[in-house]
Amino acid sequence: MRPLIAGVAIILVLLTGWGCVSVVCAEWEGVDEAVVKKFAEQAGRPPREPYINTTRGDLLLFCFLLAGTVGGFAGGYYFRELFPPKSKRTHD
């Protein structure tokens, strides 16, 4: 099993390294732009502005941080509930 995993990892590293060299000037656009938007525009149905547009000014940053805070709290809270430290588990 381990040689298989090592082999796959080596192939991935080689592919990634080759890719890094070959597309060093890549623009790293999301596939929504590279694929979805391209085909939608070809069909005459380009994406429209979102109904709730949070990309204005610092609104998006506010949403990211709010989501990060809430998500981080929820993740941490439930993680501790599901995987309590060993010392606490022995008391339960």
């Binding site: 099993m1 796959v8 991935l12 592919l15 990634t16 080759w18 890719g19 890094c20 597309v23 890549a26 623009e27 790293w28 656009e29 999301g30 596939v31 929504d32 590279a34 694929v35 979805v36 938007k37 391209k38 085909f39 939608a40 070809q42 069909a43 005459g44 149905r45 380009p46 994406p47 429209r48 502005e49 979102p50 109904y51 709730i52 547009n53 949070t54 990309t55 998006l60 949403c63 990211f64 709010l66 989501a67 990060g68 998500g71 981080g72 929820a74 993740g75 809270y77 439930y78 993680f79 509930e81 599901l82 995987f83």
Partner: protein
């Protein structure tokens, strides 16, 4: 959990949340689908979400930990499904879905519920996907991704594959199936002049350079998450298999 592992999890979550940018990858953006198609995908998705909510009510009566596990898995799916990962072989960014992992941890119906919540929040606050295309996005990521991942896991286990290999294929195939479903949704909704098949193949081929390596990455993530839960709380990972009985 060891300190380095805790720090790694924290770093991944932090990068995921702070690295989110608007409108990436399999999410079908606002305005791309016509109203009839948007309604059609909503109609297909809603029964799965409703069944998932019923499943949650039934399971929470006999599995007190399920809501906590669902909260943790939900946070994971939310982050994973808006985490733009650069793919050097393609020179583009895309995101994994996390629903294959969620399906083998909590079951496919609850995974569909988790995906619908994550996609709704992303559409509302992160300009990621859209409100009119929410049904289509839930169908591709929440329904097709979850059931493909869960089915792949069960099939691999029945064929005698070790759990790590089964979990890897759950992540890999759920990712690829999600993007195949997105291609189908786009081809059906956008077909110019009725040329459905050539458009479908064109979109599928366009996704390949980015999604093939990303699917492999998602396979490793699923295997890692399943392995972690299996080692720390083995009693939890046996439960989703019983979901069909409820």
């Amino acid at each position: 959990m060891s300190r380095p592992l805790e720090m790694t999890v924290f770093a991944v979550v932090a990068v995921g949340v702070l690295g989110c940018q608007s409108a990436y990858a399999m999410h079908v953006s606002e305005g791309i689908l016509t109203l009839p198609w948007a309604g059609f995908w909503f109609a297909l998705s809603i029964p799965f979400v409703a069944l998932g909510l019923r499943n949650l009510r039934l399971r929470s009566e006999r599995e007190p930990h399920i809501k906590a596990l669902l909260g943790l898995v939900g946070a994971g799916v939310f982050v994973i499904s808006c985490l733009p990962v650069p793919v050097p072989t393609a020179g583009t960014c895309s995101h994994p879905c996390g629903t294959g992992m969620a399906a083998i941890l909590v079951g496919p119906l609850l995974s569909a519920v988790v995906a619908s919540v994550a996609l709704t929040l992303q559409a509302l606050f992160l300009a990621h996907g859209g409100l009119t295309t929410l049904g289509a996005n839930i169908f591709s990521m929440g329904v097709v991704g979850s059931f493909t991942g869960y089915g792949a896991f069960l099939l691999a286990r029945k064929l005698g594959a070790p759990w790590a290999v089964a979990a890897f294929f759950a992540g890999l195939l759920s990712d690829w199936a999600t993007y195949a479903a997105t291609s189908l949704i786009l081809a059906a909704g956008l077909q110019p002049g009725g040329d459905f098949w050539s458009l479908l193949i064109g979109i599928l081929v366009a996704f390949v350079p980015t999604q093939v390596p990303l699917g492999v990455l998602e396979g490793f993530v699923s295997a890692g998450a399943y392995g972690f839960l299996r080692s720390r709380r083995p009693e939890f990972v046996a439960l989703p298999a019983k979901e069909g009985a409820s």
